[in-house]
Symmetry: C2
Subunit: 593 residues, 2 copies
Amino acid sequence: MHDTAPAAKAAAWLADLGERLGRGEIARALELFADDCYWRDLVAFTWNVKTMEGKPAIAAMLEATLARTAPSSWQVTQASGTGTEPVQAWFTFATATGKGRGILTLESGKCRTILTTLQSLDGHEEPLGATRPMGVRHGADRNRKKWTERRAAEEAAYGNGADPYCLIIGGGQGGIMLGARLRQLGVPAVIVEKNAKAGDSWRNRYRSLVLHDPVWYDHLPYIPFPANWPVFTPKDKMGDWLEMYVKAMELTYWGGTECTSASFDEKEKRWTVELVRDGKPVTLRPAQLVFATGAYGPPKFIDLPGASDFRGEVLHSSQYSDGSAYAGKKVVVIGAASSAHDVAVDLWEAGADVTMVQRSPTTVVRSETLTELAFDTYSEAAVERGIDVDTADLLGAATPFALQPAKQKALYDRIRARDAEFYRKLEATGFLLDFGHDETGLMMKAYRTGSGYYVDVGASQLIIDGEIGIKAGVGIETLTPGGIRFADGSEIQADTIIQSTGFQSMHEVVAKIVSRETADSIGTCWGLGSGTRNDPGPWHGELRNMYKPVAQENLWFQGGNLALSRFFSKFVALQIKARMEGIPTPVYATPLV
Amino acid sequence: MHDTAPAAKAAAWLADLGERLGRGEIARALELFADDCYWRDLVAFTWNVKTMEGKPAIAAMLEATLARTAPSSWQVTQASGTGTEPVQAWFTFATATGKGRGILTLESGKCRTILTTLQSLDGHEEPLGATRPMGVRHGADRNRKKWTERRAAEEAAYGNGADPYCLIIGGGQGGIMLGARLRQLGVPAVIVEKNAKAGDSWRNRYRSLVLHDPVWYDHLPYIPFPANWPVFTPKDKMGDWLEMYVKAMELTYWGGTECTSASFDEKEKRWTVELVRDGKPVTLRPAQLVFATGAYGPPKFIDLPGASDFRGEVLHSSQYSDGSAYAGKKVVVIGAASSAHDVAVDLWEAGADVTMVQRSPTTVVRSETLTELAFDTYSEAAVERGIDVDTADLLGAATPFALQPAKQKALYDRIRARDAEFYRKLEATGFLLDFGHDETGLMMKAYRTGSGYYVDVGASQLIIDGEIGIKAGVGIETLTPGGIRFADGSEIQADTIIQSTGFQSMHEVVAKIVSRETADSIGTCWGLGSGTRNDPGPWHGELRNMYKPVAQENLWFQGGNLALSRFFSKFVALQIKARMEGIPTPVYATPLV
């Protein structure tokens, strides 16, 4: 029957929603929702990144935003669903200021989840495809500036009287992708990076590093990796690609530049940012300041009692690059998450005698298993089904964080059953294995704390085979001149100790550059407020302080892996562009502290 | 009626062809063709680039190639056509050695044209998409070489004992695209280029140069230009893209390298190639040698009587880069094709007093008109209709050269009508305008001689306005100390004379590097043998000596604009790969001399 087809169901539901919202009938609109419902909004209604959970929260959001958002032109573009599966529909809509796209799910005719995202600002659409630039003004012109001259003039102006509208601190993937989005939107931006060249943030890392996520998950916007690109990108190849990308996208990128301080003038609404570029001081006065200094902030060192007695070297994993100096040496790696495993393998390959000191349990998933079971929308098969990376990103965003643990637990139940023998062998070594507080696995750990997991690309077999030693579940009592003594009285010898103990919150970078007071007013970054270990509540429902307005105005955080940086850079860029154009951006819900 | 649908018609016809060829019934197969028929084959049947015109030629080709080609699995994939239009169908097929793709047209149920192309060699398919490389061997490995180490070792080996299978002389777009295709096919190749860096062949040209063809026509294989790329690429941006491309595709590219000589050992079937790399001699011994030194060979200077009397400077347009030294000077540009027009505009923009000496008529087309009327399959609209660049390329190749003049004449009739007023004004200046020997316009001139045309991006208006002077149709009698005296006794003053007089055939490069004897045995490159001015017969039906076996074995010519380089690089690469793998490649039809 035609009227029960998913597209027709979704179209009827959306027409109802549109009509009721159009009349300002919020209570009647809420009748269209299931009791357990979620509305995730990315910048379209709230000028925020925000999930409203349940009818009261949705009602409150609509009361505050509906009149000024004036949504219209709701249109289903695609739908799926069967008798047993919920209807899932893609749709487009318009607001008072732009165009949007979303995904909704219906269960028994009522809306369980809806995602609304702003995609473009009216009158400020990106020049792409048919509206791309011409590249040349035909006709003769005695004052013609050729392309290199125009680019050079643009580059030379900053720091010599001209200020960018936006300054991005940190020129890794997160800063670069945001820079590309801003460039496309015509927002003057400068990216500053302490390393000499774009891509060095990858090149400078440990020798054997290869991306743990497959290529389909890692695309940069505008210039996707080609079809011959390897599944797992080697770090230096990634570095070269980023360097090329910066040039092709015509970004203003200052390598060899450190940011020493930034202060905000509340009256002028501009930052004064002090930089040291190639050893020389430069001051820029941007309106917007973005911290894109890495997902997790500065290295975190743990306090090691007796460290002054230790005769060897102690370093942080972020300082480690190459095992060649450690052949034949005894090296202890403290920590058991991704970097710890990678560094341990690198050392073992170089011929070191490696022991990993595991202080808390780790979630381990074999790379092959993850690629096969968890990346179904980011794969060659998905591409063949017509699911490109942008489609996959929006699909992923359609599930609110609150509903993800159940999905993830089901996935990890399958993963644990499939690799039971592998996990049995790994635990037999004494390795402390877990799947998170609520058995939800790697991805939830990543969102909650960004730590405590490892995608196995080889280290686990070395641990199983006893090639990499494991010392787990026993506290470090003290360092001795020759190694480490544990709480149980046991000792291990060490020539070198490498702390793979993670990173501090990004807001520590703000403390260093802006002020402790500003950093504390903002609070920590990342985490969902899940109330699990290292992710204290209250429940936030989105990544804390990321990609959205924070307690300090005109300050933003951009970061995460390639996929999150890619997806959210679009929304960060739209928020900044709207402010530059003077489009009203009333933020719904004050930032959580 | 279902059976008259284009796809069904085409499928029935192709099934008939497949069956008759399968039985070796050549005469019966020919019954399926119209009297005025064409079979264009790119490497699939002939291991050559060859168009058979008429039934006797097709019969002769099939007699020689059918048994060893053993075509099978003919399958229509797509078809179009109405009662009035001929049926056009895309199809796939298999041969004894690989897979192919083609396009055929049927008129009144009989085949008018058929294109067969080899797309891949069985067992040597390109690793793309689902078969792309992993990028890392998971698992620990004490002898692991990381990606940069492997790449560095590969690069260092050549010239230190290791030889590439293929050496490409010339690292412009043609050499680079072929290098990329060979890399994908696993053929060890080195590209040598006299300029320091990839992209310099564009960067070093005159200041205001911008591609005259739109972006949709200019894509490189594997990494298409992104959607924000300008329609007309500025030369330096093109240079940067090529440099990036070489790195991303992992090509071995020796900049700063000149090839001084090459000789072929008939017994060993290897070349001995003497190079000077960064001032040091290097010898390489590749099996295959490709000349990709530019479509048209070295600069062509014309003899100017009295040149020794002339007090000013005489240079070739290829030596010209920037007009800034010519402000206020009198400059005469000899020639009236693309470079002459571009150089004249560049000089005018710099404030020079410019006169163009036109020796023979020029075909001029306004860029806007060309983009609108001639690039219908290379446009944003085409992309939206699902015609990507590979589809457009194969469509273009489906019309044999013999049938192109009629199509092109119809196009130019429209162009001349549309821009009649523009052409009237241009001719009123004395400018000699033509549309080729048979009124077929720019593209046929490009194929026949590669000269005598200009895509107007601004110079014509300057000529119409009298800003660039024109001296046309009068022979140069002699240079004088201060300028040029013409056959009619008139004189013009000149501080500088720039010869925009084109380029010699690519076979002149062979004369310089290999030997005059080898060059003469090969004969000139380019041109169709149309019997029109500068393209003497006999009729060849394809571009002479380009992209296919020539009189000297293991020597190839690759070149042309971005589109031709892109399309044919695939077939050059397949021919070379087959030879490397020892796949028999009996070439049908000895190369024309």
